[in-house]
């Protein structure tokens, strides 16, 4: 929806400040009570979802044409969606996250872009990856020697889609290969897109580069359609979100699962055994795109409708993404299935989890803000007494793994998959 279509929402947001806090019912302390990294870090109300609604209005009304900061403010949103969940505890007719993204899209269309994003987008356009400096030609190196089916040649039950990080980054590649070996050992019929594998486009959308994102979605949808893909499994939360929501919106009908969901199913059915013991207390960081934004897509094509004179609603009923049906339990169950692993929870979890700071293009464009956001999370994790943070997204793992807490101390960060591979005897600790 273009920015101007959000005007009614901009003018109906009443500044309750829910968008700055975890749902109040879940508030456990002042220290870890806030939910929006952007307003916490930058301070001015402008940076909250409410501020952004008003900023959107000012952009449309031409009131901020002389602003030097407008582009920076708009792009300082992590697109983590915490505001969206908290807003919708009470409001049924506002869409703060979608609006923040529309505002970013508008900024990009006006040329209010962050220099750091240019290189990333150049990489996406030319090499089809969000990791600048990586080459398309190197993308499939991780697949070598695994005997994976090329889904264009042979039908496979499951398409394994690693995403840019798991495909390219040297320290992750081995894990990608381990995952594949494990899934195959459990009898899963796996295939890959081969040389057609490319970025999912999800992160571009979060940065406001909607055209580029759409292009990726269309290309990947075409590829999957051609190959007759029915199930996609990915270890990347960003890819999961893109496939589950944007691809579905573009017409894709395949099932999309995060690898933790798939592994948990295999463990539950006995197809995968985890005999190894890992004596470790961990706390689980819910990736935004897997958790609150990982809800299934529901098609909607409707209009606003007023009932009882002035109550505004939607006709037909509009899907209400508020984190209620995100993926929270499968990763936790998987952790609990590993002998010796003890899970302790942070204060902000599940739909009201605090973002790691890696998303929305902020890690590249606003590195200090991004690092501070991660630092807050590490501090919160440390307060649980856990020895390590477990997560289920390579972006979160990378971001949190390079952060330090408020005292300057780092904390080990593991992907749940790392632990599963260890427990399954696939890799050594």
């Amino acid at each position: 929806m273009p920015l101007q279509d959000y005007r009614p929402m901009m003018e109906r947001c009443s500044n309750c400040l829910n968008c700055r806090w975890v749902p109040f019912d879940k508030l456990k302390s002042l220290r870890f009570g806030e939910n929006c990294p952007s307003v916490c870090y930058y301070g001015f109300g402008t940076y909250s979802a409410r501020g952004r609604f008003q900023l959107g209005q000012s952009v449309l009304d031409g009131e901020v044409d002389e602003s030097e900061a407008v582009g920076d403010i708009i792009h300082s949103c992590l697109a983590c969606g915490a505001c969206d969940v908290s807003c919708k505890v009470c409001r049924y007719n506002l869409e703060p996250l979608a609006h923040n993204l529309a505002l970013k899209e508008e900024a990009v269309s006006r040329g209010w872009v962050k220099p750091a994003h240019r290189a990333i987008m150049e990489g996406l356009r030319t090499e089809q990856t969000m990791l600048p400096g990586r080459r398309k030609a190197d993308r499939t190196a991780w697949q070598e020697g695994l005997g994976l089916k090329d889904v264009f040649q042979e039908k496979a039950e499951v398409l394994f889609f690693p995403g840019c990080k798991y495909a390219y980054e040297e320290d992750l590649r081995e894990k990608t290969r381990g995952m594949v070996r494990l899934l195959k050992k459990a009898g899963v019929d796996l295939g890959v897109l081969g040389s057609a594998e490319a970025c999912c486009g999800g992160r571009a959308a979060d940065m406001g580069y909607a055209d580029e994102a759409r292009e990726r979605v269309a290309a990947n949808c075409r590829a999957c359609g051609k190959a007759g893909v029915t199930t996609v499994v990915t270890p990347c939360a960003d890819c999961l979100h893109a496939f589950k929501r944007q691809y579905a919106e573009a017409g894709a009908t395949f099932e999309v699962l995060h690898v933790t969901e798939y592994l948990e199913r295999l463990v539950a059915t006995g197809a995968l055994a985890l005999p190894g013991r890992i004596p470790m207390t961990v706390t689980y960081h819910d990736p935004c795109k897997l958790g609150r934004q990982g809800e299934p897509y529901e098609a909607w094509n409707g209009v606003e409708k007023k009932i009882r004179n002035q109550i505004h609603t939607w006709d037909p009923k509009r899907p209400r993404y508020n984190g209620a049906y995100g993926v929270y339990d499968a990763p936790r169950r998987l952790l609990e299935a590993i002998d010796g692993v003890r899970l302790v929870e942070m204060e902000r979890i599940r739909e009201y989890s605090w973002c790691c700071g890696a998303s929305g293009g902020c890690e590249a464009a606003e590195p200090e803000f991004s690092a501070w956001t991660a630092s807050e999370r590490v501090t919160e994790a440390r307060a649980t007494g856990a020895a390590a943070i477990a997560t289920a997204c390579p972006w979160c793992k990378g971001r949190l793994g390079t952060a330090v807490d408020e005292n300057g101390d780092a904390m080990p960060v593991v992907d749940i998959v790392d632990l599963v591979l260890q427990a399954a005897g696939e890799v050594q600790a």
């Binding site: 005007r7 009614p8 003018e11 109906r12 947001c13 009443s14 500044n15 309750c16 400040l17 829910n18 700055r20 806090w21 749902p23 109040f24 019912d25 879940k26 508030l27 456990k28 302390s29 002042l30 009570g33 301070g43 001015f44 109300g45 402008t46 008003q54 900023l55 000012s58 009131e63 002389e66 602003s67 030097e68 900061a69 407008v70 403010i73 969940v85 919708k88 505890v89 009470c90 409001r91 049924y92 007719n93 506002l94 409708k305 009932i307 009882r308 004179n309 002035q310 109550i311 505004h312 609603t313 939607w314 006709d315 009923k317 509009r318 209400r320 508020n322 984190g323 209620a324 739909e351």
Partner: protein, 560 residues
């Protein structure tokens, strides 16, 4: 608009640091209240409040003082706000700076003395969560737990559902530290005598009375930078255990907590029950909450809020559900109460007292609301007060009208007539949401233990649609005329009409003079003029503090 000279801006910047001040239009524009920020009690309005010259985020009392001193030096008005729920906290002239106190967020709990010492950005929910860890809690005003405790306590009335057991802001405010509009620091209560935070009054005349009084002075006396509030016993666990799927969270509290919706056959019986509750001291919390959605839709709204898959689009079908219709009928005259027993015997006693009051008044407990899931939802909703934004759920804007009464029997006697008046407007026009006339959200306690009560009819309108906003303003004129006819005073929706102009600007002294000299008791505003002269000699904090220039008043008196 004249921009603040660069040199002056640099001086402010030197006080708070570069990061904490902005004059970028993108920031300034977001510090203007918009019409959806309704419930300012000056009726539905259009347009925005003026644009400040700068937004400043001070981080300490010293920084606040530095900023205020500069404001005095350069004749710049200022307004401090913290959580910005209502338009009261926004500046009202172009030669103003907006102070946003969000960096001031330290707190300390003194459990033994049942006191919390807070900076402004500590919100009610956070301090409640912290206090519960040591078996205490606080009165969260009706505005809800997202609001600053200091703002509610220093700035406005501050009554809420637990006021029946814990009192209101004026009663809970203990020692406080203020940066006066002159830039001077004043410590009130026991703090001023160097005796700590524990008492709201110190030696000599009541400074608490002057700086906040009963109603609060809406930021007209500078900035309260720290204050102590009284904490009250919490007979529950160290944290409220919750369950359920967003947004239908529920509390899993032990058996000494009970939530009931009490219903009455007549308004007289309702008033009797409230009187008896005031007299008998058995309620932890009492409030007429869910009727704010409206008499015809409240059961359906409760159903929607308790089912993660339902939404407003389901309202028409749910309103036709015979069971819910019947519940609406049964809950027509209702109130929500929570009991919190300190011991099992205490719980039993309170239960018995409630049952006896129902027996005396012919009332009953709503059967629908006895359902465990619903009762647990009510417990969480009303104890945490974390769903206040549901006030806006229907249309995005609302204003409360009708008002307050010193005695519940006054409002009870006119409730049906007021309902009929509203229903007529709902049916004959389209400006306001049609919810069944009575949409009273009733505060049963505006002072500790009992006393005056509120009857605020929520009038839901769409601030995005001018026809709705304007039509609602006309409705308020009609209700004011009705209030006049009945001798009921100023309609709540217009309380602040004498504080800020419809265009969002403050009134000048001349405009205030013209309004207040006609008051039945103009001396009050003359007295306030003198107080303002003493505390705020450069008149830097706007017209929420109503003043009448005594010279003008005496001239008029002489002429008259």
């Amino acid at each position: 608009m004249n921009r603040m000279p660069d040199a002056v801006y640099r001086e402010f910047e030197a006080v708070v640091g570069r990061r904490n001040i902005s004059r970028d239009p993108a920031v300034l524009e977001t510090y203007r209240a918009i019409p959806a920020q309704s419930s300012d009690h000056r009726g539905p309005h259009e347009g925005k409040t003026p644009m400040p010259q700068a937004v400043i985020l001070p981080g300490s009392t010293e920084e606040v003082q530095g900023v205020v001193r500069l404001c005095n030096r350069y004749g710049i008005q200022f307004k401090a706000a913290t959580t910005f729920w209502s338009v009261m906290g926004y500046i009202g002239s172009e030669a103003s700076v907006q102070l946003d106190l969000r960096r001031m967020r330290t707190f300390e709990i003194d459990a033994r003395n049942q006191v919390a010492v807070l900076e402004p950005y500590v919100i009610g929910g956070a301090i409640q969560a912290e206090a519960m860890k040591v078996g205490l809690t606080l009165n969260i005003p009706g505005v809800g737990c997202s609001s600053s405790v200091v703002a509610s306590t220093a700035g406005w009335v501050g009554f809420g559902p637990t006021s029946i057991s814990m009192g209101c802001a004026s009663e809970n405010m203990l020692g406080a530290e203020w940066v006066l509009p002159s830039g001077e620091i004043l410590r009130t209560g026991s703090l001023g005598a160097g005796a700590g935070w524990f008492c709201g009054e110190g030696p000599g005349p009541s400074l608490r009375g002057i700086l906040r009084g009963k109603q609060g002075t809406a930021g007209s006396f500078g900035v309260c930078t720290r204050m102590a509030v009284r904490l009250h016993p919490w007979p529950g666990p160290a944290a409220i255990p919750t369950r359920g799927t967003v947004p239908a969270y529920k509390a899993s509290l032990p058996d000494n907590f009970k939530a009931y919706t009490l219903c009455f056959p007549t308004w007289e019986a309702y008033a009797d029950a409230i009187r008896l509750f005031h007299e008998n001291d058995v309620l932890f919390l009492g409030h007429r909450q869910f009727n704010m959605f409206g008499r015809d839709i409240k059961a359906a709204m409760i159903r929607i809020l308790n089912d993660p898959d339902l939404q407003l689009a389901d309202l028409p079908a749910l309103c036709e559900d015979p069971y819910l219709k019947e519940q609406n009928e049964k809950m027509k005259i209702d109130i929500q109460v929570i009991l919190a027993g300190q011991t099992a015997r205490d719980t039993d006693y309170k239960e018995m007292a409630v049952d006896r009051i129902l027996e005396i008044t012919g009332g009953w407990k709503s059967e629908m609301m006895l359902d465990k899931e619903l009762a647990d939802w009510v417990l969480l909703y009303l104890i945490r007060m974390g769903h206040k934004n549901l006030n806006y759920v229907l249309c995005g804007a609302y204003e409360g009208n009708f008002g307050l009464s010193s005695n519940v029997y006054v409002s009870a006697s006119v409730m049906e007539e007021a309902s009929d008046l509203k229903r007529k407007w709902e049916e004959q026009g389209t400006a306001i949401a049609a919810v069944g006339g009575d949409s009273d959200m009733g505060s049963i306690c505006i002072m500790g233990g009992g006393g005056s009560t509120g009857w605020e009819f929520f009038t839901h309108f769409d601030a995005y649609e001018k026809a709705s906003t304007r039509g609602t303003a006309e409705f308020f004129n009609a209700t004011q005329a009705w209030m006049n006819e009945k001798g009921l005073g100023v309609d709540m929706g217009k309380w602040n009409q004498s504080a800020r102009r419809p265009d969002g600007f403050y009134f000048s002294q001349a405009e205030q003079d013209a309004m207040f000299e006609k008051l039945p008791q103009p001396l009050v505003t003359e007295y306030q003029f003198k107080v303002r002269e003493a505390f705020n000699p450069n008149d830097l904090c706007g017209s929420y503090y109503r003043t009448l220039d005594p010279n003008r008043a005496s001239r008029r008196r002489n002429e008259g």
